[in-house]
């Protein structure tokens, strides 16, 4: 468990990084890494973890501060430079070429050559197998990346870094896309790497994972380091206090649900994606007012296609969707919104906001036609200003004023702007797709509380989330989506264990008879 010796391999001293939008992402941050340790970098979103790692990996250059590698002061000019110096990074979003094989991905850019010109494929496969064997990664290196599951893709990313000679490995939220089983496997690998003398930086805001696998943790809060701690000496509560600056309630006191009438009725819904692949497979379910229906599942099992159809973004589906007795087949997105449906989109930057417009302009895109905020032609700017100032206060959006461009805010604050917009219309039905993804603990808690408040007020909530804690703590009914169908439906959420859920998510288990899906 402990480090091999106490040799310091890397020191980052007094790093300051200011972005071009004036955001001080790192303000005098120092961190020290020992050989053979798993070092957690812990903090809320916008705390400056990613920035610090971008500085280390040569993506960003610091405004102040020094980096010492094995005692020598050094400047890291580019990711290539970082790789040459033995630093590897596994990004949250995989950087792999799907149509190439595992071996081809591993050697990409540093290919073994035949005659100085052609790629020596045999040697490439051999080398990939050697490196996989060396670190006990059980991977078929001839498989195409597009055909392997997420957990394996992550291993390929790690192997890619190791192949390039990384001694220091940066993992950016590596478990975000993994099932509990895959996470377990990853942790075993990481421990092996550590025992091999590698240093691993583990970026995360999941406290239980840090407790499980990390030796030391550096905690960051709003661009500053809150200190480095031995993980075994610090409690989860203490860590979260350092992270957010106050105690976070990790569980919710939830009143029992009091479901009313059915607000949304989905029957035999089938959706194909652009390539003609069946993504939602004759799915039927009901959603009642006053309840939260959670949908868990590994990403890409039809959740996005389901949500797109429910919200009117996708019109080519088979089957029927009724919201409050209105069949939405002929409804425009605006018509659906007028049925008092709110939608928190999966990806906030692509469809949730316009980064170059200011907070005010982003807060009214769903209600500017409301007679309170505009006449037939002109907008009532004064009223809109007052209302957006009110919403900024109510939703605790950290900003200079409503005139600030949304693109200049941190991820959590952008999400708050979106949530404020969607919730401020007083919806009857909320469709929330990954509402707290990449959002800091404080903001996530805030958003979850709001969802519960709406449910208590009789609103129907459909919650799609990859965060198991979230679906567990919020859902009144919990469905697991696997290959376009519900592989399981649980009406007693408290009785389900994470492991069991994981098995449904991976399709290892499947309920034939499902209770409580529809009410007729």
């Amino acid at each position: 468990m402990a480090c091999l010796d106490n040799k310091i391999v890397l020191q980052m001293n007094h790093i300051m990084k200011i972005y071009s939008n004036g955001v001080v992402a790192n303000e005098d941050v120092s961190i020290e890494l020992k050989k053979g340790e798993i070092h957690a970098l812990l903090g809320e979103n916008g705390a400056g973890k990613s920035t610090l790692m971008k500085v280390l990996f040569g993506i960003e250059s610091p405004d102040e501060g020094q980096i010492f590698l094995n005692g020598q002061e050094t400047t890291i000019r580019s990711p290539q430079d970082a790789i040459n110096k033995g630093i590897g990074m596994v990004h949250q979003h995989f950087m792999l070429v799907p149509s190439l094989t595992v071996a081809e991905n591993i050697i990409l850019g540093v290919e073994p050559k035949k005659g100085g010109l052609f790629i020596d494929m045999e040697k490439a496969v051999q080398e990939a197998e050697v490196i996989a064997g060396k670190y006990n990664f059980d991977i078929d290196v001839r498989a195409k990346v597009e055909e392997i599951p997420v957990g394996i893709k992550q291993k390929v990313e790690i192997l890619k870094a190791l192949y390039r000679g990384a001694d220091i490995l940066i993992l950016d939220e590596p478990t975000a896309v993994l099932t509990p089983q895959e996470t377990d496997e990853l942790f075993v690998q990481l421990e092996k790497l550590r025992d091999n003398g590698h240093t691993i930086i583990f970026i995360s805001h999941k406290l239980d994972e840090i407790k499980r696998i990390c030796d030391r943790a550096t905690i960051m809060r709003s661009g500053r380091s809150m200190g480095t701690y031995e993980v075994k000496d610090i409690s989860t509560e203490e860590m979260s206090r350092l992270m957010v600056g106050r105690e976070v309630v990790l569980t919710f006191d939830k009143k029992p649900a009091a479901p009313s009438g059915v607000l949304m009725k989905v029957r035999e819904l089938s959706v194909r994606n652009g390539q003609g692949v069946l993504k939602v497979d004759s799915l039927s379910f009901d959603l009642r007012g006053g309840e939260i229906l959670g949908i868990a599942g590994v990403e890409g099992n039809g959740q996005s296609e389901l949500i797109d159809s429910l919200t009117g973004l996708n019109k080519s589906y088979k089957g029927s969707i009724c919201i409050k007795d209105t069949d939405i087949e002929k409804c425009s997105i605006k018509d659906i919104r007028e049925l008092k449906v709110a939608h928190i989109p999966e990806d906030r930057m692509t469809s949730g906001c316009a980064g170059n417009l200011n907070i005010l302009e982003n807060m009214f895109s769903n209600q500017y036609t409301d007679p309170d905020y505009s006449g037939k032609i002109l907008l009532k700017m004064k009223k809109i200003q007052e209302r957006s100032e009110e919403l900024i206060r109510e939703y605790l959006v950290k900003c200079r004023s409503y005139k600030q461009n949304v693109g200049m805010l941190s991820g959590g604050n952008i999400q708050k702007v979106i949530v404020a917009r969607e919730f401020s219309t007083g919806p009857d039905l909320i469709i929330a797709n990954q509402p707290t993804r990449g959002v800091d603990v404080g903001a996530a808690e805030f958003i979850r509380r709001r969802l519960l408040e709406f449910r208590d007020a009789g609103c129907a909530v459909l919650l799609v989330s990859a965060d198991l804690n979230e679906v567990f703590s919020l859902s009144d009914r919990l469905a697991v989506m696997y290959k376009g169908k519900f592989s399981g439906m649980f009406t007693d959420v408290a009785a389900v264990t994470e492991e069991e859920l994981g098995q449904y998510m991976l399709g290892l288990k499947h309920q034939e008879e499902q209770e409580g899906v529809i009410y007729e």
């Binding site: 200011i18 001080v24 997105i333 692509t350 949730g352 302009e361 895109s365 002109l378 907008l379």
Partner: protein, 355 residues
């Protein structure tokens, strides 16, 4: 004003300055009397009332097309049909003035209204083609300008031509001419109309429901769609409004005291200039008069220089080109911007510690 906006202004001035300096260097190389040439370029427009008048007259069409393009580009529709819309507007205004025989007062109003209508229909064609067939508006609008040019030339030759002068229409009746507002110059009522259009363009984009929909669509189309905005409607309206303004501009220009006949047998280039105006005005119609003043001044100066010295008019094209390149090159001076912002951020950190 925050520091980022201030920096943008500074960068704009700096780009203009660099462009001018490069032009001066070129003048030094090609001219036998460079100092005279440069002095004429800079002070020429101020030398006489007539010259100053020329600057202001030249602003009018630039404000019109610039405002039109600001609105089209705000919806992220790179429609270049303004050029053809302006041309067509001129022809329609000439036809109305010559053929309808309306009394003074009514004649220019009718001519400008119909010119605006023609511009609207013309500029909407690329938008319709995009919606119906998926044709990229950049390409279709670029090519359609030639349709406008040759259609107008055809109509000129077969319906409006005065056989005694060749490729020009009959003389426009006095009833249709826009009145001069400052004696001793050709500055005409069209200037007032242009300024009104710039202000209304601003109000439309920033204060109305449709303008908001338009900017939202321009900034992020999938966000606009998700919000429930009808994208097709927005695209059509933006191009139509842009076309109205372009067509109007063409009508006003032709009815101004500068022209006595319709004699446009080649594209005048105001549509291209509009892109420069739009870039300098940062897509805000309210700034188009300022941008137009700058460009008009430079051109008037250059034409005076070309008349009195050995430097040709084309030097302005170089200046324009450099300005556009520098303004749109986002990374230009980015290091300096970063240092400025970092300094400010550090200062506010220190302040925070003291307080």
């Amino acid at each position: 004003m925050n520091s980022a906006k201030r920096f943008d202004m500074f960068r704009m001035f700096f780009s203009v300055l660099i462009a001018l300096l490069i032009s001066f260097v070129i003048i030094f190389f090609v001219s036998k009397e460079p100092v005279t040439a440069i002095t004429t370029l800079i002070t020429g427009p101020l030398k006489s009332k007539r010259n100053m008048g020329n600057v202001v007259e030249a602003m009018v069409p630039l404000i019109f097309t610039g405002t039109g393009v600001c609105i089209m580009f705000s919806a992220n529709q790179i429609n270049l049909a303004t050029e053809g819309g302006f041309h067509l507007g001129g022809l329609v205004a000439a036809a109305v003035a010559l053929k309808l025989g309306l009394p003074a007062g009514l004649s220019p109003i009718a001519a400008i209204c119909l010119a605006a209508l023609a511009g609207a229909i013309f500029c909407t064609i690329p938008a319709v083609m995009k919606i119906k067939t998926g044709a990229p508006e950049l390409v279709s609008s670029l090519m359609i300008n030639y349709l406008s040019l040759w259609l107008c030339t055809f109509i000129l030759m077969y319906a409006l031509q005065d056989p005694s002068v060749g490729s020009a229409s009959y003389k426009l009746p006095a009833e249709s001419e826009l009145p001069t507002i400052i004696k001793g110059t050709n500055i005409h009522a069209g200037l007032l109309l242009a300024l009104i259009v710039a202000v209304l363009g601003y109000v439309f984009l920033f204060k109305t429901r449709t303008g908001y929909e338009l900017r939202l669509t321009g900034e992020n189309e999938s966000f606009a769609r998700y919000s429930g905005i009808n994208i097709v409607k927005v695209v059509l309206i933006s191009q139509m409004v842009g076309g109205v303004i372009a067509g109007m501009g063409g009508g006003v220009e032709l009815l101004s005291p500068i022209y006595s006949r319709f004699s446009w047998t080649s594209l005048l280039g105001y549509g291209w200039d509009a892109i420069i105006i739009c870039t300098l005005a940062k897509k805000n119609p309210l700034y188009t008069p300022l941008a137009a003043l700058f460009l008009a001044y430079l051109r008037t100066g250059a034409s005076i220089m070309a008349r009195y010295t050995d430097v040709t008019l084309e030097i302005v094209q170089i200046t324009q080109g450099i300005i556009i390149l520098l303004v749109v090159a986002e990374q230009f001076l980015s290091g300096m911007k970063h240092r400025m912002i970092a300094k400010e951020a550090k200062a506010s950190l220190k302040e925070g510690e003291v307080a």
